[in-house]
Structure formats: C-alpha cells, structure tokens
Amino acid sequence: MLSGSDIGAIATIGIPIIASSALIIAGFYSNLGRRAIVLLNLIFGIAELGAIAFLSYLSISGLYSSALNGVIVLDGFSIIPLLIGAFVLQIILASLSLEGEVHKAAIFAVAGFSTVLGSFLLATTSSISLFIASWLLLSISSYTAVAAAKTKSSSDAALKYALMGVLSTVFIVMWLGTGAYLAGDNIYSANWFGSGKLFLLSAALLLAGVGFKLGIFPFHWWMPDVYSQAEGRAIALITGVAKIGAVLGFVRMIYYTFYIGPSAQFIDMVAIVSVLTMTFGNIAALTTRVLPRILAYSSIAQIGYILVGVVGILYGASSGNAQLIYLASGGIAIQTLGYSLAKSGSFLFSGELGSSVLDESIKGAYRTDALSSLSFSIFLLSLLGLPPLVGFWGKLYLFESAVPYSLALVVIAIINSGISSYYYGRLISMLFSQTGTGKGKFGLRVSYVILSIVLVALGLGLLQLIFPYLSIKVL
C-alpha cells in the first residue's frame, strides 16, 4: 500500500522523467516550435514544484520522515532547499523563452529537469548506491546543460567539466569501496565495518570526489574557467539547482560517516580545508576583472563557509551536542538556499551581458535598468551576508555552530567575509557608477525582481518561521 509520502516521492521522481521525454519529442520529433517547449516547461515545472511542496508539507508537519521504504529521507534540511531549487528551476527555464533555437532550448530543458531529479535524489537519499547513481545523473545533466549552448567556449567548458567530473566520480566510487561493507545498503541500518583509519581515508575520498563539484580548495581548479566560459543560464542551473543536491547530500553522507567512525583528525582536516577554501576564494576574487570569474571565486568562498558549518555538525556529533547539530544543519540549509537564489540570479544577469565579460560591462547599469541593477545588488549583498538578507542568517548560524570547536576558525571566517566585501562592493558601486552607459534593459528583469523579492522576504522573517524545521534528521 502506498503511503502519502511514497506517492509524493514517486511523483517527484516521475515528473522530471516524463517531462524530459515529452521535451525531447516536442523538440526533435515535432514541429511544435519554441512555444511548445516553454509551455511544457511551465506545466511540468509547476507540477514538480507542487510535488516537492507536497513532500515538504509532509515533512514539516511531521507526518512522514521517509518515503519509499526509507530510501528517501524527508527532513526539512533537504526538502526546503529543494523547494527553492525547484522554484529557481522554473525561473531559469522561463529564460528559455528568450532562446531562439528550439533544439538548444529542448536540450537545456531536459538537462534542467534531470538536474532537479538528480538533486532531489542526492539530497534525500539514504542509500549509498542511489547516492552514486544520482551523482552520475546530476553530473551528466550538468555537462549537458553547459554544452547545450553549442558555442565553442561552451563546448570547451563542457569538456573540461566532464573530464574532471569523471575523475571525481572515480573517487566517489572508491569512497564506497574503502569505507563500507554493506549489509543493508542503507546508512540508517548500516553495518559499516572497518577500522578508524580506513574510515578516515574513505571520508577523505568522499571529500575529494564531491569537493570537485562543490569547489573545495584543492579540487576547484576547473571552476573559474568553466563558470566563465559557459553560458550564464547553464551555470545558473548548476549553482541554483545542482549545487543544492550536491551540498546537502554530501553533508548528510559525511555526517553519517562520521557517526560510524568519529575522528577528531577528520574535523581538523575539514576545518583546515574550509580555511584554505574560503581564503583562496576571497583573495583570488580581489584581483579578478572578469565578472563570471569573480562569481566563480565567490562560489568557492561560499562553499568554504558551508564547510565551517560542516565542522559544526561533525563537532556536535562527536561531542553528542544535538543543539549544535540542529544549529549547524539549519545554517547549512539556509546558506544553501540563499546561495541558490542569489547565485542563479547573478549568473543569469552575467549571462545576459555575454560570456567571460569584464566587470566593467555592468558600469552604470542603474541608469538604464534600475530594477535589474537593484536586484543584482540584492543578490550580491545576500552573498556578502548583509542583514537582513538570507545570506546573513546563514552565515550567522554557520559561524555560531563552529564556535565550540574553535573560535579561531570563526574569526578567520568573519575576516574572510570582510575581505569579500571588497569585490562585492566594487561590483555594486560599478552598477551605480556615474560614468559608463548601461546596455539597455535586461530581458530577464522580471526574474531578477522575483528572486530578489524572495531573498528579502525570506530574510525579513519567513526564515525564522521555518528555521525549526530545517535540521537534519539525526541518526
């Protein structure tokens, strides 16, 4: 007998599959044209949004904490950011109405739906094998999204991305191999064996593999190039939808791995990596003059902040402090959804100006399109962490959760946030600069405005309402 959550989960999984099939047929095997694509996007997108909303209702109201025999975990930690992700997907797909070519539009839309599917599965699964499978799905949809534009630079970017992505997937599989002897293939009923050192190594491999996608320090080399060469819309999809799944799934896995083999050295390692990532991202962004590259380095720094929250969760797990886990996972969820909203908007904005544009191209944009400039400023301010926007709350909880572990780490994180104000501030001041002319009105103005309204609304109070539900399901 199917329970409510099962139905919801099946819908969430099924809709993207059906949508992708429909889109391929409409795009390649019919003459319906671009409008049809847009319509299909709208229908299926809203359906998917509805399904995830249903699941979030189930999770928040506490009715169900899992679906499909426990394979899908329903906790606010994953579901609510995914809800935002689905919403962002709609916004991004709506931008396809500006895309001339039907084929490109179709492929991109398929990639979009696959991404949201992969993201959903990655973020909510408790099964190792499903984790790996959805990781692959997510990766391939990302490569496809980047390649969909069919320009030279996009193809270069997609290739680079794919090459490094394959390498990282290898490490994820190695994680499985070294870390687990599965009696039940479900981390909630896991019988994970292995000595302490082996766990350490396997966790490190997970870090390496997922770290590639997230942009963690020694694994981030591809990010600035790919983010600047690819089309803005594609990167918006990746940062807005795919990253949610990657981050949340990674946190869940690392948290549970840690429970099995708690090790103080691993926390130290994560802390060191977090410092390196933050610092690298912020300092490198200071002298970059290419707009999407600045955003890419900023993404690297953001992931560094999230790792601070990971330190919090791990430390809470090791010291049995449930409050800390609650705080840290809430922070990660907020930061992720804030990042998704802000970055997708930023990359759409940057993409409208062209690919690999210099930051000077936004100079004086306020004079021609005030609304878009204001929205872009709001995105950047949220990333900076200015209250009362979402980014502030995320950083607050993240840094707070790491205080018991080490005050020094928090101080470094705060200093890094301070450093980041330079490049965010530079961009914002360029928008409102007196010299320079804007490039005319932006096509996606409505999207920017919607995204910024959501950011402000969430920051001003909605977040506080949903915060209690945002914690990770404790083992």
Partner: protein
C-alpha cells in the same frame, strides 16, 4: 533660608552673570557694568555671610544637594575662615572690576575680558567656600581656565604686549614671551600638578570614603591613622600639596607667574596677586589642620603609629618650609635687578607667597598650629590688599610712562596723588610699621624662629632685607634715573584713583588696628581649625627687633642709592655682570625648562614620525599591495590547461590521504 540665598548670590551668581555678559554687546561699557554689579552683589552677600558668622557663630557645611554614588555634594563650608576669604575675594574683585572699567575701555575684547573676569570670580569663590573636594577642584580648574584666557587676552600678540627683553636669547631659550605663549605656559605648568592633586584627592577618597573637608577635619585622627597604616601618608600629602605649590607659583613651578604678566594689569592684580595664587595657600591652610591635629590626636590613641605619622608629617612640612624659603629668597633676588615694573611685582608676589608657605610649614612645629595658620591667613589678607593696590598703581604708571620698563618712565613723583598712595602700599610691602605688612610679616617671623630650624629661617630673614630694598627701589628708581622728561603728568580719574587709594588706606588702617584687634582676628580665624586655648604666646621681642632692623636697613640702602645718590648702583652692576645676568635670567631655570621641553618635543617627533610612517606604509601601501600580489599569485595555476588541473586534483588527493595516514 536666608543664608542659603546669600551663598547662592555670592558664589553661583557670578557664573550666571558671566554667561549673561557673554551675550552682551560692547556698547557703553555694558558688560563691564554688569560685571561690576554682579561683583557688588557678591561682596554684599559675602559681607552678610560674615555678619551672620560673627553674630551667630558658625556650624557645619551648608548643602544644596548631592550625588552620594560618586561622593559629590554641592556643599559649602560655613566658618570664619571661609567667611573672611569670601569677603576678601569679592571685595578685591569689585575694586579691581571698577578699575578695569577704566583700564580696558576701548579694548576690542572688552566683553570677553569681563566674561572671563566674572567667571574667574565665581570659580575663586567656589574654591574658598567649597566643602566637597571635587567642588573645590572644579573651582580650581575654573580659575586656571580663566587665568589662561585672561593672560592671553591680547591674543594677537602685538609687540607691546610682550613681557621680557625682546630678542634676547640665552642658550637657545627666548627670554621674552607673548600673551598666547604665556597663557599656554600658565596652563601647562599648573596642569600636571593639578592632575596629581586630583589623584591625591581620589586616593584620599578611596582610603577614607569622603570628599568632605569638614568630615575630614572632624575625624582627622582616623584619616591620619588610615593613611599611616597603609604607609601612604607622605605620598598622599605630596600629591595633595603639589597642586597648591604650582598654583601658588612656588619653586620650581614659579616660572608661569613671571610670564603671566602679559595679561592686562587688572588681571595681574586680581589673579596673580590677590586671589588665584592665594588659592594654593588657602587650600594648604585648609588641609594642614587635618594632618597636624590628626597626628596629635593619634599620638594619644595609638602612640606608636601616631609617633611615626607625626614625624613623617614633620619631615614633610619641613620640606614645605624649605620650598617656601627658597622661593622667597630666590624670587626676591630676581626682583633686585628687574627692570620691568610688573616683573618686580610678580617676583615680589611669589616671594611673599613663599613666606606664607614657609609659615604653613612652620605651623607643624608650633604647639598651636592653628594660631600660626591664622598668621598665615593674616599675611594673606594683608598681601592681597597692598599687592593688588601696587599692581593697580603700576598700571597707571605703565600707561603714563608708555612703557613696561621702569627705566623708561618719567619721574613718577610728579604724579602727587597716585605716587603718595603707592608709597603707602610700598611701605606696607617693605614691612615698615605701622603698616599692616609689618605686623603680619613679623608674626610669621616669630613663628619661624620658634621652630628653631636654622636654614629656612635664615633665608627668610635675609629676604626681608631684600624685600625692603627692591620695593623701595621700585618707587625711587625714576627719581634718580628718569627715562624721559615729563611735564605735569595727568592723574587718572577720581574713581580709578580711589580704588588703589582705598587699598592704601586699608593698609595703614589695618596696620594701626592690628595691635588692638590682631589677637582677636587670629583667634577668630583659628576657630575654624580647632578650638584654641585662650593663651597666646608673648611676642618675641628679639624677632621684632631683628626684622625691624632689616627693614630699616633695606630702606636705607635703597634710599642712599636712588634718592640720596650716594651709591652708584649701576656701577656696581657693571662690575658684576655674571651675577647680574644670573639674577636677571631668573637663575636660568627658564632655560632649563625650555630645553627639557624641546628635548621632549624632539623625542615625540621622532616617535610620531616613525610610528606614523610605519603604520601608514603598512596599512595603506604594504597591505593592499601584498594582498594583490598574493591574489595574483594564487590565481596563476588556473591557466586553462585541463591536464594541469587533473594533475593537481590527483596530487591533492594523494597528499590528503598521506596526511591522514600519518596524522
């Protein structure tokens, strides 16, 4: 109650008047008239307070309100000493205020002058009446502020406003000063000692829990006991005294008084002769009974502690006496060769203050400290009266002679009225009977001799000779060496001459009355300190004889030099150039201070430059440049080469695994 109202009118009202004056236009002497009116009200109110005290006796402090949490209370002392001081201050201020109407007429800073003048009077009244030490300190600082403003009144530093010899440098030190510089010097020389005094007051509060002078006096043995037990008796006494020493221009803080003469003459009269410099004396006389009687009582209750405390106090007051004696002696020697009228009078003021401090020091060695203190107070009053008068007269002479140097004046004896009045004042300063100056100085000399301390006493006694000499020299110089030919010199208007005329008459009147009422006055004043038995020591006739002899000798010497022209003073000076320069350059103390100040400035400059340049370079140059370079450096590996990326990726994984293995 009426008494409260009188206190308010006497003390607080001048502040209000000062604020009002600030807003008045300079027309028709309006600010001056308002100021004089305010001072008149103050004088009358103080007189009424004094009357109350005489009729009904006095009691504890009068309080207008307080803030117990910080120990502050708006309370005023109500005793004979305060009553007399209040009347003295307000009366002299009134007289000098009237004189200022004439002297400052036409000055571009007329309003500003009277505003600060009235503010000063309010502050000084506060000092002499405050019971709470914080309140006293507030008034103290107020007088310092007014002094600074008034010394530097002619702030455009015109050449004729200078003091000292123009263009004369001794060892890189300018031996001249302009009003703005002098104002600053006055502030600086008194600031640091004032801060130390505040520290002393606060330490006293911490140890005893009170700021109130009356409470401290009542429980004086406790106070001394607490301080002695904690071993900080002498340090606290030093801290408390140092502000007074600086304010009263004692050695080595006397330098500011000399250059303070750049202020208008009435300011010199009021602040630097009659009142502000007396604040230090007033204050010391207030706190000495606490220690003197406290120690004596303690010797009864706790003999061992009391004995140590008493001997410490005696040592401290011996030092105080020495300082007073040195000041008196040194400044008198400087007055012997001074050429500027106001400088002679300034040195004389400092010298007489030295007498007073020596008297305070000597009080501890007497069996009746409060009696000796009352003699100090008597000399304070006498000196205030005749010195103020002398300054007012000097103002007239400077105006008429168009110069601050006495060797450029015409023969002042051509101004019959003014000069005769001035002679009365001068003889009082010299210490000739029957003027009041003789009696009070003599009383002090008796006290000095009674201590049996040879060094300070001999210095002070010699100074009497000098005092008589230089004061009469001041008057007689132009008789022998007139600077220019004068026709009939015009006397100032009657109301002006009456101001110093009144003071001159007071000098002689008080002097005549002293043998009759002197004792009563002393006892009246000393009642403020402690009950005094009605026995008074017989005057030492030897002391009277000695001091009289010295005075007459001094007067005779100067007469013979300047009037009878028997001695060639200028010839003597030319034969002793180095001595002359030594005295003329104020014992080179100014040179010393100036060079020390320069050294400090240089150190400050060096430190500041290195810090400033260092910090500036670090923050504005090194940090941004460094960060930029670092930023560009870390971006270098991202050159687009995918194979490199994959290599770094793999290497990173390997490194991480290795670290984890060996961690």
């Amino acid at each position: 109650m009426a008494l409260n109202a009188y206190y308010f009118l006497a003390i607080i009202q001048p502040f209000i008047a000062s604020a009002i004056i600030a807003l008045l236009p300079s027309k028709r002497k309006l600010p001056g008239l308002v100021s004089v009116a305010s001072l008149f009200i103050s004088t009358v109110s103080s007189g009424l307070v004094l009357y109350f005290i005489l009729e009904k006796g006095f009691s504890g402090p009068i309080s207008f309100g307080d803030l117990p949490s910080i120990g502050f209370s708006l309370s005023f002392l109500y005793d004979s000493y305060t009553g007399i001081m209040m009347e003295l201050v307000s009366f002299l201020s009134l007289i000098i205020g009237i004189y200022s109407l004439y002297y400052m007429d036409g000055d571009e800073g007329f309003t500003r002058y009277f505003m600060y003048f009235t503010f000063f009077v309010g502050s000084m009244m506060l000092v002499v009446s405050a019971d709470n030490l914080i309140l006293l300190f507030l008034g103290w600082e107020g007088t310092g502020l007014a002094s600074y403003a008034l010394i530097g009144h002619w702030r455009h530093d015109e050449k004729e406003r200078m003091i000292g010899e123009e263009g004369r440098y001794v060892a890189n030190t300018p031996m001249f000063s302009f009003p703005s510089m002098s104002g600053l010097r006055a502030l600086l020389f008194t600031r640091i000692p004032d801060v130390l005094m505040l520290v002393g007051i606060i330490v006293l509060y911490i140890m005893t829990g009170t700021f109130s002078l009356s409470v401290l006096l009542k429980s004086s043995s406790n106070v001394v006991g607490i301080l002695a037990r904690a071993g900080i008796l002498v340090p606290v006494m030093s801290l408390l005294s140092i502000g007074a020493l600086a304010k009263s221009a004692q050695f080595p803080f006397h330098e500011w008084l000399v250059t303070a003469m750049t202020g208008p003459t009435p300011v010199s009269a009021l602040i630097h002769a009659a009142t502000m410099v007396k604040a230090g004396v007033y204050y010391m006389v207030r706190i000495t009974p606490i220690f003197a009687y406290g120690a004596k009582e303690l010797m009864v209750t706790d003999p061992i502690l009391g004995q140590t405390a008493f001997s410490q106090i005696q040592e401290f007051y011996y030092v105080l006496m020495i300082i007073g004696a040195i000041t008196a002696f040194a400044l008198a020697t400087m007055a012997l060769v001074a050429r500027e009228a106001k400088l002679i009078l300034a040195y004389s003021t400092g010298s007489q203050l030295g007498f007073m401090f020596a008297g305070i020091g000597a009080s501890i060695f007497s069996s009746h400290p409060s009696l000796v203190l009352s003699f100090v107070v008597a000399h304070l009053i006498a000196h205030a009266i005749f010195k103020a008068g002398l300054f007012l007269g000097a103002g007239i002479y400077i105006h008429v002679g168009e110069s601050r140097f006495i060797d450029e004046w015409p023969n002042i004896h051509r101004m019959r009225v003014t000069t005769s009045l001035n002679w009365l004042l001068t003889l009082s300063l010299a210490g000739l009977p029957p003027f009041i100056g003789f009696w009070t100085k003599d009383a002090l000399v008796e006290s000095y001799i009674a201590t049996g301390l040879l060094l300070p006493t001999s210095l002070l006694v010699v100074t009497i000779l000098f005092t008589a000499f230089y004061s009469t020299r001041y008057m007689l110089y132009t008789e022998r060496y007139p600077g220019k030919d004068g026709e009939l010199l015009h006397e100032p208007p009657a109301y002006v001459a009456s101001t110093y005329g009144l003071l001159a008459i007071l000098s002689i009147l008080l002097g005549i009355m002293w043998p009759l009422f002197g004792q009563k006055l002393s006892m009246f004043v000393s009642q403020s300190f402690i009950e005094v038995p009605h026995i008074l020591a017989e005057g030492e006739t030897t002391a009277v004889a000695v001091s009289l002899a010295l005075v007459l000798t001094g007067i005779a010497l100067s007469f013979s030099a300047y009037y009878l022209k028997l001695v060639d003073s200028k010839g003597i000076i030319s034969k002793l150039p180095s001595l002359n320069n030594f005295l003329r350059d104020r014992w080179w103390i100014n040179v010393f201070y100036y060079n020390i100040g320069l050294a400090f400035l240089r150190i400050g400059e060096v430190t500041y430059n290195s810090l400033e340049k260092g910090l500036d370079t670090a923050i504005n140059y090194a940090l941004p440049r460094g960060t930029s370079m670092f930023s560009k450096y870390i971006r270098k590996p991202l050159n687009g080469d995918t194979y490199n990326y994959m290599l770094y990726f793999l290497l990173s994984v390997v490194v991480m695994l290795l670290i984890l293995i060996f961690m």
